[in-house]
């Protein structure tokens, strides 16, 4: 595909970027709301996480005495790292803002940079809980990164393209004809779903709602954050969730607009698909207890082997 830019593409790319950033807290809120409904609670407002973000911005920051420059820069770095990955996703319009950057290896390693700074942040305040979270974060990242790379490389081999934008361009164009397997996207989706749960600190790997310092992962890392920094961390986690959900929605059924006319339909479908995955995640979270910490490798190894099988199949040219 042609990835050269003109003003229209750039403008629409920026528009798409802003829309998916703005939607990110909504999906996180939707999952929360659905989970509460499954429990028989009335639940929060679906837009609650926007209010939370606003409230956190209005609050002042309390910074630890021990904090160095890492505490001040890393929230912004993490936010921009996740933003740039989100900006690569052709969520509903093919020429995404950073479509040129969307090489598969770059995506995985850029996400890794986010984890790197997150764990540095966790160690910066000299709090025991932060390090506990950082250790577990790396533990799960290490287990899930090979699967993530395998998933992306499978997609690349499957479509014989190296960039995310071209990959989904290929899948969409060939979805209805040609030699096209539904087995590979299906099993990739299983693997990606497990990874999405683990990377976004969801049950059964982590419990996002707990107050127990000793069992949590993501929340333990940002335990010392307050005010706008906490707000940035929260927003970054919504964006990360959005990245994974968008990937899933693209793999299962890509419908991406090429011209401005198609955008409304594609946007509608995008929101619908995302809501579907939110629903699925909330069901999984309601039906499963949190795993024991050292049982998680079982689940993640299954994700790895499934993506490996997908890769073998894609190399065979199924």
């Amino acid at each position: 595909m042609d990835i050269s830019l003109n003003y229209e593409k750039l403008l629409l790319g920026i528009l798409q970027f802003i829309i998916i950033i703005a939607l990110a807290p909504f999906f996180a809120g939707l999952i929360h709301k659905l989970k509460q409904n499954f429990r028989g609670q009335k639940g929060i407002n679906m837009f609650q996480f926007y209010f939370n973000f606003g409230k956190l911005l209005r609050k002042g920051v309390v910074l630890s005495d021990e904090a160095s420059y890492i505490s001040i820069i890393s929230p912004y770095i993490i936010l921009s790292v996740y933003l740039i990955v989100l900006g690569m996703m052709p969520a509903f319009y093919i020429y995404s803002l950073f479509s040129r950057l969307s090489d598969i290896i770059v995506i995985v390693y850029t996400l890794g940079a986010g984890v790197f700074f997150l764990t540095l942040y966790s160690l910066d305040q000299g709090s025991p809980f932060g390090g506990l979270g950082g250790e577990r974060e790396w533990f799960f990242t290490m287990l899930s990164e090979p699967s993530l790379i395998f998933i992306f490389i499978t997609l690349a081999i499957y479509s014989r393209k190296g960039m995310l934008v071209s990959i989904f361009d290929f899948i969409q164009k060939n979805a209805l004809g040609g030699h096209f397997s539904i087995a590979i996207p299906f099993i990739l989706l299983i693997s990606l779903f497990i990874l999405g749960l683990s990377e976004n600190a969801r049950i059964p790997i982590d419990n996002p709602e707990t107050h127990l310092e000793l069992t949590m992962i993501h929340e333990a890392i940002i335990l010392e954050a307050s005010g706008k920094y906490l707000g940035i961390f929260e927003y970054s986690s919504y964006i990360k969730l959005s990245i994974f959900l968008t990937l899933m929605s693209l793999i299962i059924f890509p419908y991406i607009a090429y011209t401005p006319i198609d955008i409304p339909l594609a946007l509608g479908l995008y929101i619908f698909k995302m809501a579907m995955f939110c629903f699925m995640i909330s069901i999984v979270e309601s039906l499963n207890p949190k795993m024991r910490l050292f049982r998680a490798p079982n689940l993640l190894s299954i994700a790895f082997i499934i993506s490996l099988i997908a890769m073998i199949l894609s190399i065979r040219g199924v």
Binding site: E213, S286, N288, P289
Partner: protein, 512 residues
């Protein structure tokens, strides 16, 4: 009446040189420690009393006592469970336990309390020492390259009571755990001194909100024995029904928390809804959600009388409780992910449980057959109500949770039976002589009942004027807290909240 809570007591203190020998002999008989406490005789001498649980096939409590003035021999080497009691005596009376293997302050923190002021001595003039730092608390240390500590509490992230846990770790496994509690000592024992028996009841029933009925019953057992009050049969029925409703409520809530802490929130919510139903039932039956003031000296309050309406309400709640508990049990036994989460974690083996004289759920899950309702029957237990005992050998979270569920079913059964056999209404709830005015009598007695957490133990001594001279309460949580560290040792720290919740010990009851 069978001999309820009879005490095998020689009356005269034995010589302190014979103490260790006697205790070793007592231990050899296989009994466990109920409590150790001191009494200030007012003349510079102190009497230290030792109470031991009954032997098999007997319901008689063993007791010993020695006299002391400055120090007393420690029996912790023989009975490790005595450790905390002796530290408490050192704090409260200034008596020094000789040869104590792990001596440091228990309740009075050197960080802000003058260690030379001992509040339970009769000569303390109630002046509080100046608030300043007097010393350091010697925490246990773990040494080694890369070993670090995680101090948790006393202020927690959630709304729970204060307690300090200090983990020494190297990665995830816990190398050592030290617990330091008693952050909000209320001075209840001192407060009750000089009060009349019925005044003290109000204080005592509020020691630990969720075990109000159980603790009050133990107090009433003791005080009614001193005063020689015979309780009407209908009052006995109502007392047992209330106690069992309280047990059911506690167990339902604790099972809910187990689900909550493993992140299985929908099931937890089902349990919490049931808990709320029972609390509302409490309000309807006993006119208070936590059953405060439902029990009175000699019987029960007239507001807690169980009429036909209340019977119906209770039966309705019991029915839904039975159904919901069945479901919870199914999930715990049959859902592999749930079972996997709680199996083999937080294991307290039988030997540790025995050495630390555990009680209640924790003891029964570790294979000890301890239940005051069977061992030292009181009220209707042992006659009208036959409690069947459940024990597990495993001692892990699963065993404790299963015992909770089984006991909740047992409670439902007991309540249903008692409701069916409840004597005609219209009988007295309080004996005539008691209703007119509380009789005055001097003497001492003990009361021991099974609260949802284990056995609550009261020792009450009244003076010539009928007022309380010394009141000692020993909560099940006080006995069980020290065992929690042996449950997590070698396990990983992420399991600790579940281990803690599965025991669900009280901070308030622990810290009087």
């Amino acid at each position: 009446m069978t001999a309820s809570n009879s005490v095998d007591f020689q009356g005269e203190p034995i010589g302190r040189e014979n103490l260790l020998e006697t205790v070793a002999g007592v231990k050899h008989e296989g009994v466990y420690l109920l409590g150790i406490f001191a009494i200030d005789n007012g003349d510079g001498s102190f009497e230290i009393k030792y109470f031991f649980g009954p032997e098999k096939n007997s319901s008689t409590v063993k007791a010993l006592s020695i006299l002391a003035s400055i120090d007393f021999p420690s029996i912790s080497g023989i009975m490790p469970a005595a450790k905390i009691y002796e530290r408490e005596i050192m704090d409260m009376f200034g008596l020094f336990p000789l040869n104590h293997p792990d001596l440091k302050p228990l309740m009075l923190f050197p960080e802000n309390w003058d260690g030379t002021v001992h509040p339970l001595k009769k000569d303390w003039d109630k002046t509080i020492p100046e608030f300043k730092k007097y010393g350091e608390y010697p925490y246990k240390k773990a040494h080694g390259n890369g070993v670090f500590e995680i101090p948790v509490g006393p202020v927690h992230a959630g709304i729970i009571e204060p307690g300090h846990f200090r983990f020494s770790m190297r990665g995830e496994p816990v190398l050592q755990l030290e617990i330091r509690h008693f952050w909000k000592h209320r001075g209840i024992e001192k407060l009750c001194e000089g009060k009349t028996v019925s005044e003290a009841l109000k204080i005592v029933s509020r020691i630990s909100g969720d075990n109000s009925a159980g603790i009050s019953l133990a107090y009433l057992e003791a005080s009614e024995k001193i005063l020689g009050i015979e309780i009407p049969i209908r009052a006995k029925f109502i007392r047992v029904i209330l106690a069992e409703i309280e047990r059911l409520w506690n167990h339902v809530r604790d099972i809910g928390y187990i689900f909550m802490d493993m992140g299985y929130t929908p099931k937890a919510q089902a349990m919490f809804v049931l808990e709320e139903d029972i609390l509302r039932l409490n309000k309807f039956v006993a006119s208070h959600r936590y059953m405060f003031d439902a029990l009175q000296l000699g019987g029960v309050a007239s507001a807690s009388d169980i009429d036909i309406n209340k019977t119906g309400a209770i039966r309705g709640v019991l029915k839904s409780a039975g159904e919901k508990l069945k479901k919870a049990e199914w999930y715990i036994l049959n859902s592999p992910s749930v079972t996997d989460r709680i199996e083999l974690a937080g294991k307290i083996n039988k030997k540790t449980a025995e050495e630390l004289s555990l009680c209640g759920i924790c003891a029964r899950a570790s294979g000890l057959r301890r239940d005051s309702r069977i061992e030292m029957p009181y009220l209707l237990y042992g006659e009208t109500v036959q409690v069947s005992q459940k024990t597990f050998e495993e001692g892990d979270i699963l065993a404790r949770t299963r015992i909770r569920i089984m006991e909740a079913f047992e409670s439902i059964n007991i309540i249903q039976n008692l409701l069916a056999w409840l004597p005609e209404s219209g009988e007295d709830l309080i004996p005539k002589d008691c209703a007119e005015g509380v009789p005055v009598s001097s003497g001492w007695a003990i009361g021991n009942t099974e609260t949802p957490r284990g056995n609550a133990f009261f020792y009450i001594k009244t003076g010539e004027d009928g007022n309380i001279e010394r009141l000692k309460y020993i909560d099940p949580s006080f006995r069980n807290w020290p065992s929690i560290q042996y449950g997590i040792l070698g396990g990983i720290i992420a399991d600790f909240p579940l281990v803690n919740k599965s025991m669900n010990l009280s901070y308030a009851g622990n810290d009087l």
